[in-house]
Symmetry: C2
Amino acid sequence: MEIRSKIWVEVDGEPVFGRGRRFLLEAIDKYGSINQAAKEINISYRKAWSYINAMEERLGIKLVERRTGGKNGGGTVLTNEARSFLEKYKKLEDGIKEIVDRRFKKIYGQ
Amino acid sequence: MEIRSKIWVEVDGEPVFGRGRRFLLEAIDKYGSINQAAKEINISYRKAWSYINAMEERLGIKLVERRTGGKNGGGTVLTNEARSFLEKYKKLEDGIKEIVDRRFKKIYGQ
């Protein structure tokens, strides 16, 4: 018997951010490219943008910005606000998984 | 912005018990009747039994027992093991909701 848990953020009762969006932002941060990030999490480029637009609108935060030039010919990176939001979410999500596991062991004795 | 969370119990990677099943067992405990409990949570009597059978099998616990006679003509009540399992689950679920809310406020400052 195992315990599972999940958290997500809502705005006005609508889901806005959860594990899937976390992976999307993490992948953008890793690759500096929406295209690469979309591939990594197995969604289309178009879908990735629709997720980003919806999050930006509902959270009221600009999440990505285009970088032009440079040796890799530019790309799309997370804004500082996006990075800050993501870091908080990761801290929250990772901490909760640990707490849930610990409480489960304590209460159910396994 | 609000945080939402959900927990559930799995056995061998399969979901077995969560908020919906909690409500079913609570309703059986309240009414002493599968029929009334099913009505309360808006599922059919047949569906209620299929949930109970699946939980009993996967958890390896007998959850309900038939009571015959008495002034209300009998009914179906939770076994002591079911009540014990349910109490633990409620303690776990309610405690986690509080913790998630508190951590969210602390980390996101809202």
